[in-house]
Symmetry: C2
Subunit: 331 residues, 2 copies
DNA sequence: CTGAAAGCGCTTACAG
DNA sequence: CTGAAAGCGCTTACAG
């Protein structure tokens, strides 16, 4: 403390309001009945003392922290930014506190993040990536709520909220084929999640076109990599006529590079993004992309947490918020 | 708990290792001496039981939570994204846990975020925007570490880490004038922080060019607003020859719109961004912008927290990490 | 180098 | 509708 003033405790409030600490607790948490007049005295005392209850102390008894650990890959400029923002906002609105971790694609870092979140006794974990086996087992035995977001795995640890990357991959193949493109190139991170999409794309594509799509695996699908990747693309023989990018940022970068090299979009090269970030609709040309409903996932996460808190049964352990392919000018 | 298994407590570890809880605590926190052999027994017991100490319970006595509240404006796609990432990473590495809040430019939301962070007994607050008077007073009396980041105010509540927006504004005026531009337009949010820059720009500009710069105040300096703002710019008479944008995203958008309208950059319209995001260096044309050193701020924040924890005196309550104007192709 | 005891600030049955 | 008591899981002097 910089100054001598102590923080007020619940006992101080109780004394001032001439009630017991238990009553103050009940009033604050709206648990149990408090007579109207009593409540008013308590309220007055709280205001007078600027009392802010210590949530951690309370959690010790109640076994609920309302702390939610959010683990997202560190992907500045990707749709995960929007996702984290929406999620944190939804959590905050609902009275939860989000503790955020940004992780590289690195199991060790994920493990240590989860470790500290467990030490904080987080009520729930929101994960985004594919979860390594060891961590899966660990979380499974801890009795916490685990929400896997984005991709819906066959067997969720607990609850999965997201979309079906396999269905999307196939649908993208159809979309591209229907629009008459014949030499697709897919640029995406080498992870497991995009992998599902790519696999499904490849499979459906082979059925439709009887050829193989080309893949370019990258570290991360980011704007900064567009130059190098456009160069690689341009030198391919035959040259792709449509490129499906792992993010809108990358798609925008590819488009900029293509135009700079004198290629007309979409006639000489079509470009498809991922994420429907604010870039997509307002780019020139506007970007055809996939919308992934970050807000809806955020809302669904909060709903699930709410139900868990209320001890309600959760009917479905897989919640599919869907996606949509948005056809714009670039493809 | 989903299954009957209970989490191990420090008492369980103590019993298994045949020591007292106090010794386990000392071993874990490296506070006080523990004989090597004893320590090894403790370690074995911890591993055996998968013991994760409850940090909240510990904080109750130790009065330190190692929780840091980070409040940033909600500005998807701006340099604040990078800032939050860098800061959270630095904090996590140093053993702190970050609780993040995204706030609109809205005092009420800021207040409620601070309220919940106080309820969590956060050791420190990292704020980004200008702080309303009421909140300033509130935090001042709480005895927590308060770090104001980005702008360095004349009288920090506690500690300020960032840069001198006033100096930057003046330097930008000089930069623009030296390069021969004569009709600058500044597009930025209507907040207090950009306001300082703009004021200083205007002042210096009047000295240099003996004319007034033009201002366009916007809700937020984002990519999506570029179309509308470019239209406004294009219709101005006389038309600006250089536009200074509040973010790289907006600058990129303006550049795209300008090129789409057939204007050559920088000859017919020069564009300057803010933030040196990954977009800037890789845009075509590459964007002249201001680098704001997010990583350094993150590091400095952690250093300050470390010193506070160790009860060290902090020599300077204003830490200037500087900035730099990066001249590229667009201006 | 180690332990017994007290206490951090709440919430939760239990009793009335 | 309200209170007294116990206890959540740690850490911190204090004593040895």
């Amino acid at each position: 403390m910089k100054n001598g003033r102590q923080r007020a405790r619940i006992a101080d409030v109780a004394k001032l309001a001439k009630v017991s600490p238990a009553t103050v607790s009940r009033y604050i948490n709206k648990s149990g009945f408090v007579a109207r007049a009593t409540g008013e005295r308590v309220k007055k005392a709280i205001d007078k003392l600027d009392f802010v209850p210590d949530l951690a102390a309370g959690s010790l008894t109640s076994r609920r922290t309302r702390l939610v650990a959010v683990l997202t890959p560190r992907l500045a400029g990707s749709f995960f930014n929007t996702f984290v923002e929406e999620l944190v906002l939804a959590l905050t609105d609902a009275g939860y506190t989000a503790i955020t971790y940004f992780i590289e694609i690195d199991d060790k870092q994920m493990e240590s993040s989860i470790q500290t979140a467990l030490a904080r006794r987080a009520d729930a974990f929101v994960l985004t990536g594919p979860v390594p086996e060891g961590i899966k087992k660990r979380l499974g035995t801890e009795g916490v709520t685990v929400i896997e977001s984005w991709n819906i795995p066959d067997e969720p640890i607990d609850i999965a909220i997201g979309m079906d990357n396999t269905a999307l991959g196939a649908e993208l193949a159809e979309f591209v084929h229907t629009r008459g493109y014949r030499r697709p190139l897919l640029i995406d991170a080498a992870g497991k999640r995009p992998g599902l999409r790519q696999l499904a794309f490849a499979e459906r594509w082979k059925e439709l076109a009887e050829t193989e799509p080309t893949f370019l695996k990258v570290d991360r699908p980011r704007f900064i990599h567009a130059r190098a990747q456009f160069r690689a693309l341009r030198d391919m023989d035959p040259r792709p006529d449509v490129v499906l990018c792992g993010s809108d940022g990358l798609a925008q970068g590819i488009a900029i590079e293509a135009m700079h090299a004198g290629l007309a979009i979409p006639d000489q090269l079509a470009v498809i993004g991922f994420g429907d970030s604010e870039i997509a609709a307002n780019m020139r040309p506007s970007l055809t992309t996939v919308s992934i409903k970050a807000e809806e996932i955020g809302r669904a996460v909060v709903e699930v947490l709410q139900k868990r808190l209320d001890q309600e049964e959760i009917a479905e352990n897989k919640i599919d918020v869907g996606y949509s392919i948005l056809a714009r000018e670039s493809a």
